[in-house]
């Protein structure tokens, strides 16, 4: 066999074997994120109630997905706000807490859960604010993930 050809083919085979051997040890670099979704009573996006009766429960569904590449300890906080309540991807709402839903999700797992909510006070343009929080072991507390959602409601006496 030609000497140069021999060197090239041997080098290629060696490099291929080394790459294959190292592959399982390299950390996977991909986009890591969490997801938060709010669904209506029929588990559909956009099927939200507009008017609810005070002190009567209504059903919504929450959806949380863990694509962080590691197990996450999530809490979905449901808060009762109004038109002036400020909430963003960096700031959580400073509003009264209506309910908390809590679950540990393995990597790649999705969690669909029912939320039976009741609002006591009558009002217009009330905002149900849903925030996703996750437990950060390095600070030993839940931290706001910057993910939020909202449903606008009018609460009547019935």
């Amino acid at each position: 066999m030609n000497k140069q050809l021999r060197i090239v083919s041997l080098s290629l085979v060696t490099i291929a074997i080394v790459i294959a051997a190292v592959q399982p040890l390299l950390p996977v670099v991909d986009e890591r994120f969490s997801e938060l979704g709010i669904l209506g009573a029929d588990k559909m996006i956009g099927d939200y109630p507009r008017i609810v009766v005070a002190n009567q429960s209504f059903l919504l569904y929450g959806l949380v997905g863990n694509h962080e590449g590691v197990t996450q300890n999530y809490q979905v906080m449901v808060k009762l706000g109004n038109e002036t309540t400020e909430v963003s991807n960096t700031t959580f709402a400073n509003a009264s807490l209506l309910a908390t839903y809590w679950r540990v999700l393995a990597k790649g797992e999705t969690w669909l859960f029912p939320m039976n909510l009741t609002i006591a006070n009558v009002g217009t343009n009330i905002r149900l604010i849903f925030e996703l929080w996750s437990y950060n072991p390095s600070v030993s507390s839940f931290v706001y993930k910057g993910l939020w959602n909202q449903v606008w409601l009018n609460v009547t006496l019935g």
């Binding site: 080394v18 051997a21 590691v70 300890n73 540990v104």
Partner: protein
């Protein structure tokens, strides 16, 4: 004279009242502390599970146990007003589960580290063998090729064409 006696008496009475206030627990405080301490136990257990997974351990069974503990806490919160004894029992079960998870995550973490280490050794051995094999193949190629040829054709009989 009279005013100083009054001040002394007032201080003594205030101190006595403060002592009574701080030594008497609030009626709902006991259960509330238990809920928060159970939550803290679950979160601590989660931190152990998180670390075990980072070390390469398989934590799927531990995650299921943690969720069972969370469900018990939520159940206890619902029962707190109607049946405090049931709530306490559920919280104790949840704490026990969280404790078990914390303990098991140590062995899961150790198994993960061991598995990762053996994977490292395996990869290093493969790399060394492939590099040595290539070097050997390069330096000894002619000899290896002749030996291989002989191995394949050693029973081959050459028959002259004119027979």
């Amino acid at each position: 004279m009279r005013s100083s006696r009054f001040v002394k008496r007032s201080i003594l009475v205030s101190a006595f009242l403060l002592l009574i206030i701080f030594s008497t627990p609030a009626p709902s405080q006991g259960t509330e502390v238990t809920v928060s301490s159970t939550n803290a136990s679950i979160n601590n257990a989660f931190a152990s599970v998180y670390q075990a997974e980072r070390n390469g351990g398989n934590v799927s069974a531990l995650v299921q146990q943690l969720n069972a503990a969370i469900l018990l806490v939520q159940k206890a919160e619902g029962e707190n007003l109607t049946s405090p004894s049931l709530a306490t029992a559920d919280l104790e079960s949840a704490s026990h589960i969280a404790e078990q998870v914390s303990q098991r995550s140590v062995s899961v973490s150790a198994a993960g580290s061991e598995s990762r280490l053996s994977q490292w050794y395996e990869s290093i051995v493969i790399i060394i063998v492939s590099v040595l094999g290539s070097t050997l193949a390069y330096t000894q190629w002619d000899s290896i090729y002749r030996r291989l040829w002989l191995l394949v054709y050693r029973k081959h009989v050459v028959i002259p064409n004119d027979e």
